[in-house]
Symmetry: C2
Subunit: 384 residues, 2 copies
Amino acid sequence: MLQDQTFLRIPGPTPIPPSVQHAMSQPMIGHRGSEAKELIQRIRPRLKTIFGTEQDVLMIAGSGTAGLEAAVVNSAMPDDEVLVIVTGAFGDRFKKICQSYQLNTHVIDVPWGEAVNPDKVAAYLNQHPNIKVVFSTFCETSTGVLNPIQDIAKVVHQTSDALLVVDGVSCIGGVECKMDEWGVDVLVTGSQKALMLPAGLTFVAASDRALNKMKENPQPRFYLNLNTYHDKLTDYSTPYTPALSLLFGLEQVLTLIEEEGFDKVVERHEMMKNMTRAACRALHLPLLTTDQDASPTVTAVQPNDVDPENLRSIVKQEFGLSLAGGQQHLKGKIFRIGHMGYSSPADVLQTISLLEIGLHKAGKQVEFGTGVAAAQAIYTQLQK
Amino acid sequence: MLQDQTFLRIPGPTPIPPSVQHAMSQPMIGHRGSEAKELIQRIRPRLKTIFGTEQDVLMIAGSGTAGLEAAVVNSAMPDDEVLVIVTGAFGDRFKKICQSYQLNTHVIDVPWGEAVNPDKVAAYLNQHPNIKVVFSTFCETSTGVLNPIQDIAKVVHQTSDALLVVDGVSCIGGVECKMDEWGVDVLVTGSQKALMLPAGLTFVAASDRALNKMKENPQPRFYLNLNTYHDKLTDYSTPYTPALSLLFGLEQVLTLIEEEGFDKVVERHEMMKNMTRAACRALHLPLLTTDQDASPTVTAVQPNDVDPENLRSIVKQEFGLSLAGGQQHLKGKIFRIGHMGYSSPADVLQTISLLEIGLHKAGKQVEFGTGVAAAQAIYTQLQK
């Protein structure tokens, strides 16, 4: 196998664009000097488009889970009743964080592979009028489901005065998001998915309503106290040492997204989803989710005639192609193809062509080229 | 289009592996210090495998043409009769260099797209017994032809006492080469092709017979005097300032080649050639060369129903995919696909899938996936 070549097609971390890699390698600067301030000043307004908000997007050195915990400890008061919508492993993580803080935690469990039905959320909130915060994942990375956040926000605000907190880690930057318009109160994401950076930076934006509650929230917290991040950002700074090289990279990521046009970025992700799904269908690979529930950033496949772990191992060894496996009870039952961030229709075509060879080597009857052809047809038909 | 993504599938320069890019960015060192000496000492023995020689491979800061000129001015004396075998644009360059030095230059002109027939060389040398040097390209980049150097060497030495000088710029590192065994007297290559580096370094190896002639050669020359490079390399040094960052990169290139195994590297190039040719046939794209004459590093395609320049422009704009056009009288008539160096079967599959879309957009009737399927079939059948 050609040395030094790998194809990272997992739902995060995702490949880093060369110009971002280059930007991250610029010489270090002091984080309390004018250069750092100017860098944050340049970045600050440009994240808002991606979140669909006029609010500030706070940046914390930490992984996505730090962002999720920040969302929990700032938006929920110690005696709050909260509702967590669990559609997979990352909904489950929200639940675990809430339980760690001994919050009175209600759970709506949705079968893995399905999105939550907003009517169910409405019914639950009607029955439990004391719920103060609703937690939902946007893209459930473990299943490739995109929950209908716009509709969830609508029913949450129609049926309650709860805050809606959303985990957007594996989709923000690759999907349309109108935080303010939809009424999302807290939105979290991470750097290593559609934002094309290494892990180590998490982003949190909050509505005025959420910010007001945070100010009065007695929940003990220090590093993850969003009030301090908010106050410092007003002065183009951070309360604690910022992950500067990631900020260098972030500035270049924003430039790449703006050069392509964020609406085009969203279209590209939609295209990659449609190409991947059409290819899997043509190859008789059952998809875990319906078209309506499918995320533009990751596709879960549940093959009935090959072992997903064997398939993953074959393409990894043969081509350096990394696909993701299943998590928790889906381990060994599905594999997942990431198509987000620094990933294009050309990459999808390559991934499918390698997958076809992998399936053949795993013993599945494959008519070579049929998956690729289905994806090419989608590309040429849907292209704007 | 996804920003910052390009697919360089031309016959040089070729993509640089990330670890080589990284190696080239290490801090500069003095070129007369012990570190540089140690670097050259580490590199020196490792190039020999690739050339198939026990001789030293001299390294000159300059592009491939500097290497070709060095070959001419060192191997041909001012009053020598020389023979140049011209099978394309780079044979033509050898001719022009010889003519610049007012050498008495004989030429065998071969139709572009064909390899030279060794019998023709034998006949020519029999008729012109005073020829002292024969010049031939190994891979003719402009047409994708691989000349049969082993057979040419045989007839040159059977019918004359001429030196055989070979331009191996666009294939050495990607094809089997047995310089000593075959009887090649001077072999030249460049850094930016199968050796996976940026341009700026050229390599020349010479047989004892050629080295002896060089020592007595009165041809005026300074920078390109190979005697000085040869003497200095014995002391792990160079006569003039070496292109150090390219040497940093070269060391890593040699590591990558050794890790893969040079025989596996050669097999990979052969595989990429066969995959590309099978795909073109399946897509009804006429190939410029026969299977026997085809180079493992570059494939020339002569489509009869699309304009190659339009096709190239479509795939460049649509996917950032660079294919090469034709040179001189083949301009506008062919396009060329590079598959050498940091390039894999996975890259060939991707290139073909993008080419299929490009052909469709250029107005050709294409059954999507058929080129990819043909290449996949070759891959799975031929794989060792």
